[in-house]
């Protein structure tokens, strides 16, 4: 079992603390994706697992063995870099064989391993080329091949697709997903900025923010039940709308009043009796906004801009009241809607799509 466990891990550069209280259990065969805003420490955490950065405090163990002071090559990990990091003076074959050569493996063993990886990644025809004679996508495949050849317990990817163009990114993403299926016992940790990559590849997503882990969960868990307003707005695009409101009814179902005269709407989030009258933030994703004629609604406003994408129409409202987290409220309606610009529209959300946060924390996760 290649369980990878991070316990109370801390990272500081001198006096500057970058990560703290990182606790994470990763099971064999999982594909974990780290996401988070730029500079939140995703790469740093990955590099600590790789052994390229010292762990300031806490422990990292793989398969029950503490790895804090084990050199990178002996941790049973392999890493794929954003910039490919191929050795420019070596052919594709030598790039992939390098680690095995260093380890003193026999010629036959090396040829078998390189051949196998090349076949998996369709690199056969390119084995004798130099990296500079390959396209970006092929280079990234060589980088992945270099990892596969070593047969590591844990694969580490740091934004492996972000240097590729959009079409190639999709293709390579699918290849990585297929690769993962071929190797069900290998654990992968994957850093990305791309929501779609995170949602489609991950068995679990780790959202990093404010020097720590904001939430860990399956992609849909994060989407449907975000722990806090940060995760709520980070996952999903466009970001979730957050509206100010007040709890006017508690219980298994919470009743909310969002604006004077807006009537009442309900959420499936449970609340306690002491929440009665509390000021809360009510989140509704743009795609969950429904236009309504009813007297009970979540939000009413004038449509500033419409974006007709064919498949959906996006409506942009400017938020009418100060003190809200979003400047702009966005609604995403299915299909084509003409002539909405400048109109006054009332919007609401279905009870299971209305998220309630008190002091930034979801009522679900208290």
């Amino acid at each position: 079992m290649a369980d990878l466990i991070l316990k109370d891990v801390v990272k500081s550069y001198g006096d500057v603390n970058v990560l703290k209280d990182i606790n994470l259990d990763i099971e064999t065969g999982e594909l974990i994706v780290f996401v988070g805003p730029s500079g939140c420490g995703k790469s740093t955490l990955l590099r600590m697992i790789a052994g390229l950065e010292k762990i300031t405090d806490g422990t990292l163990s793989i398969d029950g063995q503490v790895m804090n002071d084990v050199p990178p090559a002996q941790r049973g990990i392999a890493m794929v870099f954003q910039t490919y990091a191929l050795y420019p003076h070596m052919t594709v074959r030598d790039n992939m064989a390098f680690a095995l050569n260093i380890a003193g493996k026999s010629k036959d063993e090396i040829n078998a391993a390189v051949g196998g990886a090349a076949e998996k990644l369709q690199l056969g025809p390119y084995l004798d080329r130099l990296p500079k004679e390959l396209s970006g996508g092929q280079r990234q495949r060589v980088a992945i091949g270099r990892a596969i050849v070593r047969d590591p317990k844990v694969y580490l990817f740091d934004e492996p697709l972000s240097n590729l163009d959009a079409a190639l990114r999709v293709a390579t993403r699918i290849e990585i997903a297929q690769l993962k299926e071929q190797m069900p016992d290998s654990t992968m940790i994957y850093v990305t900025h791309d929501q779609v990559e995170a949602m489609t590849l991950a068995s679990r997503i780790v959202v990093l923010a404010n020097r720590g882990i904001a939430q860990v969960g399956s992609p849909l868990e994060l989407y449907e039940r975000p722990r806090n307003t940060f995760v709520a707005q980070f996952i999903g695009s466009p970001a979730m709308n957050l509206l100010g409101g007040k709890i006017v009814g508690t219980g298994d179902i919470t009743t909310l009043e969002l604006a004077d005269g807006a009537g009442q709407i309900t959420s499936n989030y449970p609340s306690r009796s002491e929440d009665m009258g509390a000021e809360v933030q009510v989140g509704i994703r743009p795609e969950d906004m429904i236009a309504t004629e009813d007297d009970n609604y979540a939000f009413a406003g004038k449509v500033d801009i419409t974006e007709a994408l064919g498949e959906v129409t996006q409506l942009y409202f400017s938020a009418p009241r100060p003190g809200e987290d979003t400047d702009t409220v966005i609604a995403k309606l299915h299909g084509i809607h003409r002539g909405l610009r400048g109109q006054h529209v009332k919007m609401t959300g279905a009870p299971d799509k209305v998220h309630v946060f008190r002091d930034g924390i979801s009522l679900h996760h208290r």
Partner: protein, 325 residues
């Protein structure tokens, strides 16, 4: 006139003279010779465009021609004449040279210099560049090693005359010998090995150059390739020789050949240290020993040196261009 004022005037005349030349030449070309109006305006513009590069290149080409090409041709012609310069003797000087044991010694020694100095300076420079890279006081060490670059060859030779001095109170080599009870020697008189004592002076000077260039090249290596190699299990030696050095091979070659060309021109060190005695002559110092006495022979040696340098030079320029791409 004070030298300072002279210098300033020279700079002003040079700089503004150039600007003035380009401006005036351009003006004459566009307004007088090929004016962009009248019935042939289009044709004139095309012609002016074709002529302009040559106009602008003219000063450089002319000066290079006068000060480089003419002397080369002139030297070659002179080398075909006798000592007094009044009788054409064809390859006579070259024939005499090839039969002269002094010339053979100089040629052999020069070969030693060309093999040893660039290799030693480049290798030491490379190792020092790598070793000082991570040190907190690395930059101080680098400055110290770079400093000899600023000393003239004659000055450096004088310094090393002290190092090699026979008096144990002055020369460090003999001071060491004195401590362990050996009698003093004169390093520059030890046959064969004295060449290396002289070469070492140039190595001492040139290591700084190699170090600075190679240190910049080492820093230019993408950090990720090094990290990837660390993950692949490379130890520091493998990292250096299998990942770093191959990636800066182009720069190493440029440094190596640049020093090689310099070595083929060095004469001051030998001249100052031994005057070419004790079997330490090299081609340039050998040439100097004939200068003003037998210009025919001296120019013949000069031509030999040029022929030897030329291929290295061409290769060097090719490599440097490849590096820039």
């Amino acid at each position: 006139m004070s030298p300072l004022l002279q210098g300033i005037i020279t700079i002003l005349v040079g700089v503004f003279g150039c600007v003035g030349y380009f401006y005036a030449a351009n003006l004459v070309l566009d307004k007088v010779i090929f004016p962009a109006r009248g019935p042939h305006a289009g044709r004139n513009i095309n012609r002016a465009t074709a002529v302009r590069p040559w106009l602008f290149l003219f000063p450089a080409i002319a000066i290079l021609g006068i000060y480089l090409v003419y002397p080369v041709v002139g030297s070659f012609v002179r080398s075909l004449y006798n000592r007094a310069g009044d009788e054409f003797i064809g390859a006579g000087n070259y024939a005499t040279l090839s039969g002269d044991p002094g010339f053979q010694t100089a040629l052999f020694n020069n070969a030693l210099w060309v093999l040893f100095v660039p290799a030693a300076a480049t290798f030491i420079g490379l190792v020092v560049a790598q070793l000082t890279d991570r040190l907190s006081w690395g930059n101080i060490a680098k400055s110290l090693i770079f400093m000899p670059m600023a000393i003239s060859f004659v000055g450096a030779s004088l310094i090393w005359k002290f190092v090699y001095a026979g008096d144990p109170d002055i020369g460090i080599i003999n001071a060491v010998r004195d401590v362990i009870g050996l009698s003093p020697v004169d390093p520059v008189q030890i046959p064969f090995w004295n060449n290396f004592f002289l070469m070492f002076i140039l190595v001492w000077i040139q290591t700084g150059f190699a170090m600075v260039i190679l240190s910049a090249a080492l820093r230019g290596i993408p950090e990720e390739t090094i990290e990837a190699a660390i993950i692949d299990g490379a130890n520091p030696f493998q990292l250096f020789f299998k990942i770093k050095v191959p990636q800066i091979m182009g720069t190493i070659v440029v440094v190596w050949t640049t020093i090689t060309i310099l070595v083929l021109k060095v004469f001051d060190i030998v001249y100052t240290m031994t005057g070419g005695n004790f079997g330490t002559d090299i081609l340039p110092s050998y040439m100097m020993s004939f200068m003003f006495r037998d210009d025919g022979r001296a120019t013949a040696v000069a031509v030999v040196i040029m022929v030897v340098v030329l291929p290295v030079m061409v290769w060097n320029i090719r490599q440097a261009q490849k590096e820039m791409r």
